[in-house]
């Protein structure tokens, strides 16, 4: 038998896979062969070390809660790449809007005068005329959008991120 065959038999012996007669025969050989005995000791040592070193580990205390919270939104979970894309898109949109506002891009369309008398042979309506302060409306839309943006960022990125951090540190 070569060394490779011996190793195979020794490992099967350690795993308890050898039949009883084969195990007795091996034990008899081991008593006579000190090199084989030494090899068995080496393998036994590895076996014992592997058992000692391989333990089942436990995740954080909030593991179960995190899984269950994310089950509520199947398919809608924000992945890291989607979160970054969302964050970058939101920032670009808001910065662009603020820049446009600061350079006065909407100043020329401050007021729209609707002055449209409606009359024909069948019907005559009173004159319709009022002013729309477009600058104020644009500012209002930007303000509402910024609020929505911060809400979105909080719900999709910040809250999940801090929840995850908190659950890991617990």
């Amino acid at each position: 038998m070569n060394a490779s065959d011996n190793d195979e038999i020794l490992l099967r012996y350690l795993d308890g896979e050898l039949s009883e007669p084969a195990a007795i025969e091996l034990q008899a050989t081991l008593e006579k062969d000190s090199r084989l005995q030494q090899r068995l000791n080496e393998l036994r040592e590895v076996h014992a070390l592997l058992i000692a070193a391989t333990k089942v580990q436990t995740p954080s205390l909030k593991f179960e809660e995190s899984v269950m919270n994310n089950l509520q939104l199947p398919g809608q979970r924000v992945t890291r790449s989607r979160a970054w894309l969302l964050l970058a898109g939101s920032l670009v949109a808001s910065i662009t809007m603020l820049l446009l506002l600061s350079v006065g891009a909407f100043n020329n369309s401050t007021t729209i005068l609707i002055d449209a008398p409606v009359s024909n042979t069948l019907i005559t309506l009173p004159e319709l005329s009022f002013n729309l302060n477009m600058r104020m409306i644009v500012n209002l839309i930007v303000f509402v959008n910024l609020i929505l943006l911060f809400f979105l960022l909080d719900r999709t990125i910040l809250k999940p991120y801090f929840n995850q951090r908190r659950s890991y540190h617990l």
Binding site: A53, T54, V56, P59, L71
Partner: protein
Amino acid sequence: MITQEEENHLLNRILAGESAAYARLVREYKNLAFTIALKIVNNKPEAEEVAQDAFIKAFQNLKKFNREARFKTWLYRIVFNTAISYKRKSKAAFYSIEHAQIPVSEQGGRDLQKADQVKFLHEAMQTLAEADRLALQLFYLNEFSLEEVATMMSQPANTVKVRVHRARLRLADELKRILNKEALTL
């Protein structure tokens, strides 16, 4: 420990729309799912993320689970595949021994020696092929049969058996080499 009968009952409830029943399965299998992920990604926060993702994937694909195998076998296979693809994406190939279960030295020199041996064992593990190392670690978790490890790794049982045997022989040789080297530096 959850029986197959209880497991089937839980699965029926979940499939009927009672998603809260899934918590019982998460509680039952979270430790091993986390451990498998940790063995592959070698980083606790990432392992936690992988294990959570795997549980969510399992939940979302529960209708596809045909119940020929145990739920845990199916779940751990999802954990294994999720961790492997996560590792490929993150390319975090370095190995940390921070999670190694090195015994605390409470009994003096003997434990210290054991701690050193475990440290050397992890050093020796770096010389193994990744698939051999994973097969060995899953096998030594003492929670799975060789067949279950093979199912998880999507490989024939004989291949996994060869991997486990080869890895142990390699470790024995590598440990001998490391210990000889250490002895020379003393």
